[in-house]
């Protein structure tokens, strides 16, 4: 049985980053876009934890905790805005929210 190495973590992280990026760019539903942003943040977290483990340095893990906190705050603010928007526009599609476009 092969041991799980840092490379494996990095590949998983890159895959998550890619999925998240494509999701942000292509999906029109803002909820999904927010979920994709969570994927990107979690890909970063996996990177941080993997390198912290590999370098035997606790700073990376601490930083990951900050990122999780940040993600929670960001999700709370983003979903709050989304609910306010839905109350006015009755939609969650990004391309239909175009008040600032003329």
């Amino acid at each position: 049985m092969h041991p799980v190495t840092t490379i494996h973590y990095l590949v998983l992280s890159a895959a998550l980053l890619l999925i998240g990026t494509v999701g942000v760019l292509t999906r029109r539903n803002i909820v999904v876009v927010l979920m994709s942003i969570e994927l990107i943040l979690n890909a970063v977290n996996i990177n941080l934890v993997a390198f912290s483990h590999a370098l035997n340095n606790i700073n990376g893990q601490v930083f990951a905790v900050f990122v999780i906190t940040d993600a929670v705050a960001e999700a709370a603010v983003g979903l709050g805005i989304l609910i306010a928007l839905f109350r006015n526009k009755e939609t969650v599609r990004a391309d239909e929210i175009d008040l600032l476009k003329w």
Binding site: V24, L25, R28, D98
Partner: protein, 713 residues
Amino acid sequence: MNFLDQIWLIPLFPLFGAALMFLFGKKLDPQPASDVALAPGLAEPHGHGAGAHHHPASPLKWLIDVICPGMVLLSFLFSVGAVWQLRQLPVRIHQVIQFTWIAGMPFHMANGHLATFQADWGFLLDPLSSVMILVVTGIGFLIHVYSTGYMAHDNGYYRFFGYLNLFVFFMLMLVLANNYMLLFVGWEGVGLCSYLLIGFYFHKKSAGDAGKKAFIVNRVGDAGFILGMLLMMSVLGTVRFIDVKSILSSGQFHAETAGFGVLSAMAVLLFFGATGKSAQVPLYIWLPDAMEGPTPVSALIHAATMVTAGVYMVARSAALFQLTPSASTVVAVVGAFTAILAATIALVQNDIKRVLAYSTVSQLGYMFLALGVGAYWVAIFHLFTHAFFKALLFLGSGSVIHAVGGEQDMRKMGGLKDKIPITHWTMFIGSVAIAGIPGLAGFFSKDEILWQAYSSPGGSKMLWFVGLATAGLTAFYMWRLMNLTFYGKSRVAAGTHVHESPASMTVPLILLAAGSVLAGWLGTPKLWGLTWRFHAFETWLAPSFRAAATEAAKEGPHDASLEWVLMGLSVAIAIIGITIARYFYHHKPEIPDSIEKAVKPLHALLYNKWYVDEIYDFLFVNGLCKGGGLALGAFDRNVVDGGVNGAGWLTRFSSKVSIWWDTWIVDGTVRFTAFFVKLLSYPACLLQTGRVQSYAFFVVLGVLAAFGYYIAR
């Protein structure tokens, strides 16, 4: 008082009466409006049984009775005065030109000469027109009086008298006019009044149709009159009677000259006009139908006066017809043919007025026969006597119809002799007169016509024989009428109260009967050798037909015994006709029925008037009118509509081309320009879509590019 210069008053009186009636008549005799709506019951609405239709007489109605006959009486008195003064003149001709109607219009005549055409409102009184005005006003007055009794219970009393007075006015214009144009005014005017009076019971469809038929058939004849008049204008350059006569008798036109054919055409065209007004073949068909009018109208217009207008007009054109023997022959042949044709139809008709109507057509045929053989004074003489006895017969038949409550079918009469004695005796006199029994008016004029038809240069044995046969038929159908109406058993419908007519009706009958006896004594045969007074008629009329008189003087050795023989023959045939009719319809009433059965097709042919109406219907009404209508329809659909449709198609086609051009060329250019610009701008558009995600995409691309750059370096 100088009546001759006041001649314009003669027609003016009746016109005034008519104007009063049309302006104020409604006030004098107000009609409940509902009466007109009650129409269907009013066949001949003087049946006394039909009390529901009567309304109480207006208190002022007697004014109508005074004004209208009074105006005609005034005209009559003035006419008598004028004729009396005319008699004193050395040359018995008097022309009064009141004013110019159509003032000197220069125009080129057919021969290239410049002429001035002029027509006046002018009156000409000469022996011919003096006879006519006396007949029109005299008989007209009696018929007016009769009408006050006959029409007393009718609606539209004032309307009737207004039309009647208007008729007398136009008739007087016709006979007093001094030129053909003014004569034509009267000619059309009497036609109008005839139409109005035939259609007097306008709520009856048959009456309205008969009025229209009379008017339209007369129009056909009028076309001939107008053409003849225009031809006269262009050939002679004038339409004034005196001028026409002097030009024609100046010897300018001879049988040899080129103008001769034109004169014949002119004469035939004028005669064609006369066949319309005077009910001759081929245009006689309107007169029998005209009996739809009230009976006094039949008597005045369709027996005594208006229908003789054609005779008068041809007699007035005597100078023309004398120059054209061929046209005169046409007149004589048409007259003789009409006389016998109408007499055969009269043999079997059952409607009392229709028998008299065909009798009128037949007698008018006699007059044209006389005109055609050049015996103009005889034609006018017959017109004169006929006016008396035919007016009498019509008024008598009206009195009979009145007595039996509106029934006109002779099969439902019979045995009326003792119930209405005055009517019977007056009609008896009228029938004897028309049958040609010596001593009464009809004998003298008819016998003179037959003699002239036999002996005058234009006559022939054939014409005489047709005239003689007609005389026999006349006697027969008149006695058939008398027997069916007055003698034998009564076949009157039960419950009819047969009664003699009021005095207003019987007095005119008696006066006309007296006229029917006496009128003929003005023109006894010269053969009888009586004093001049007894053939004053010919002497009196001679100036009007002076050329004719000289023609007649050349009639060769007067064969007295021959004339006696012919006279005897005509009396004999009249008596034979009377006897046969008496035997058939009085002694052996079954004989006519068995004869009728034996010659069924012939009877049907006569009863249906030789199917002339049907033939005309087929030829003209259906053939020409409907065929013409179809042709016009086809023309409309194919040519007119075709033009419209073609234009429409062309417009549609050109607009399609225009649409194609607009869509593909004009719009195409515009759209291509827009498309081209859009194509060029597309990449630039991508830079600013307003979509966050596409911006993010470019960010990602940028990041990747930056990474790529660093990695590739």
